[in-house]
Amino acid sequence: MSDTSQNASKSQNAGEIHTNGNDLLALYNYDSFVPEKFERWMNFDASPPLGRPAPDFPLWQLGGTQTSLSSVWSRHMYTVLEFGSFT
């Protein structure tokens, strides 16, 4: 499952981050909440604009089944997405 997800996401983000896959995994999944590690990821000002089609991405259900962002938003007239984690 992890190999599949990593390969899929790399192909969707080619050129976005100029680093190899292992570096990206370690940088994104930073091990300490210190400014030099988390501030680089806070790019809300450069996020997709409202009113234009958004990019699609693979996502996984908790049981491991793959789905996609587009399959989520297409189920309802509107869909609220909250991003977050346990921590």
Binding site: S2, P48, P49, F57, L59, Y78, F83
Partner: protein, 154 residues
């Protein structure tokens, strides 16, 4: 947010939680190194913190999260055709409710024959700042998470 999801469900509004990287890794919930671990943390979010909305897990490198700005607790609202109509760098139930009431109203107005054209608006919303509750949450992650946040923001 679960209550808001239930409030609007009958009006064809869905709600999903997308699991990202760990914003404040600690001894009990360290940074992620595998999809299996990410799934485990996501299940704990559901089982221990009681999130009732469907939880979907992003790839380990955060492809989806990064594409939308990587904020640790942001929210977006999409139309059924994948057009984002609301984005917020923080999740606030009151702000979401306000937006959904407006968008559901737009759909109702269109059904009655009103001709509507979109326009852009910026707005600064305000959220509760409960520092004590926030630190309680950090303690669940481990002392390291508390210490690092204090060092970063006091």
């Amino acid at each position: 947010m679960d209550a808001r999801a239930a409030q609007f469900a009958a009006q064809d509004v869905g709600a999903v939680f997308i699991y990202t990287n760990e914003a404040h890794p600690g001894e009990y919930y360290p940074h992620l190194t595998s999809m299996e671990q990410k799934m485990r943390h996501a299940r704990d979010l559901r089982d221990l913190l009681g999130i009732r909305r469907p939880i979907l897990v992003d790839s380990l490198d955060g492809a989806c999260h990064r594409a939308f700005g990587s904020m640790p607790n942001m929210s977006w609202i999409f139309t059924g055709s994948g057009i984002p109509v609301y984005k917020s760098d923080w999740t606030d139930a009151g702000s979401i409710e306000n937006a959904l009431e407006y968008f559901v109203g737009v759909a109702q107005r269109r059904r009655t024959g009103e001709r509507l054209a979109p326009f852009r608006v910026e707005r600064l919303d305000f959220r509760d700042q409960d520092r004590e509750a926030f630190y309680d949450g950090l303690e669940r992650n481990g002392p390291k998470a508390v210490r690092e946040f204090r060092e970063a923001f006091g």
